[in-house]
Symmetry: C2
Subunit: 221 residues, 2 copies
Amino acid sequence: MTRLYHVPLSPFCRKVRLTLAEKKVEVELVEERYWEQSPEFLRRSPAGKVPVLKINGRFLSESQAICEYLEETIPEPRLMPREPEARCEVRRLCAWFDDKFHEEVTSKLLYERVNKKLMGQGYPESRNVKSGAQKIKFHLDYLSWLLEQRRWLAGNEMTLADFAAAAHLSSLDYISDVDWNRSQNVKDWYAKIKSRPAFRSILADQVPGFPPPAHYADLDF
Amino acid sequence: MTRLYHVPLSPFCRKVRLTLAEKKVEVELVEERYWEQSPEFLRRSPAGKVPVLKINGRFLSESQAICEYLEETIPEPRLMPREPEARCEVRRLCAWFDDKFHEEVTSKLLYERVNKKLMGQGYPESRNVKSGAQKIKFHLDYLSWLLEQRRWLAGNEMTLADFAAAAHLSSLDYISDVDWNRSQNVKDWYAKIKSRPAFRSILADQVPGFPPPAHYADLDF
């Protein structure tokens, strides 16, 4: 049985969950309190991070490496284009979200508001929350600029870049930190991706102590 | 002409330089003061980071995306194995260095000691330097553990994972922050990779105000 060790609001885990669901891989989800760094968990994931995917008897870690593995072993439906330049653009945007957006926004909002409480690390630092709330505007504008030229983020087909972006934005939407009124084309893009069957499991997530807002799972938000 | 916008000690730029050199792509190196974020540079690299590779008339950014592009367009000599599991392991280790090692070690030593001065951001924070000097020991031990089981970091062939690791370690070696006496197999591995023709340009780097130690370019260090 394929098994994913994850936490529900992690954007890295969500990117892998979306990829698995799009490729119709049935997976057992196991919540992992990775911050407790149990020796058993560290054997599976030396970096001490989620997601970890158990598949074909092996433990794979690092979300981008896992998604590339899934793309190589289950090619259909494709989440990467065929042309090297277009593949480079997909990977650039995955790194944009998993590195830059994560550093400037996700870690400043989600981690301050949710992870700190779950891990017993105290209260949000308001300086960080303010900075994240400011920076997300720039990123939404960048998405909007991309979507003026393309149907999906990396081109005219949906790719892993859309999943990387939607993974971060959906986690922030769970805590009402995305202003969907900022640009219509970003909202339209998110509505398209949110209505895919692959998104269902993510919209059903519930984190104890953090009930999602009504619009979170609403396809007509 | 293929052109790489870079800074000499950036491990991300060095990973791309090693890949280009190994694949025998002639490249013009252009130093980019990326931290000044000139509008012209931001047009080429919206994330405001180096490396940026100008190739076939396009500007590519994000080091891992660039290296995957080079592997796809110039397959020989191969820097990625053929099996999906083995490719996943290469990408896991690239992420290990470019994410975890970078966060725990490179940013705490190289950026404190060198980048801050170059960018006019003041003096090293001794707390960070201490933390980086402590954490690098754990990483060297992890490398040593991998090399007990494998000829190269990700398996029995040299791959991009070796270049990712060597890129970080060579930048730190430039400021004498690597204890090569900690484990013999790590030292042997570095000696092997350092003696490759692809490494020559990196060993010739000179950063004004930061002369390298004598052992830096010495193949018999």
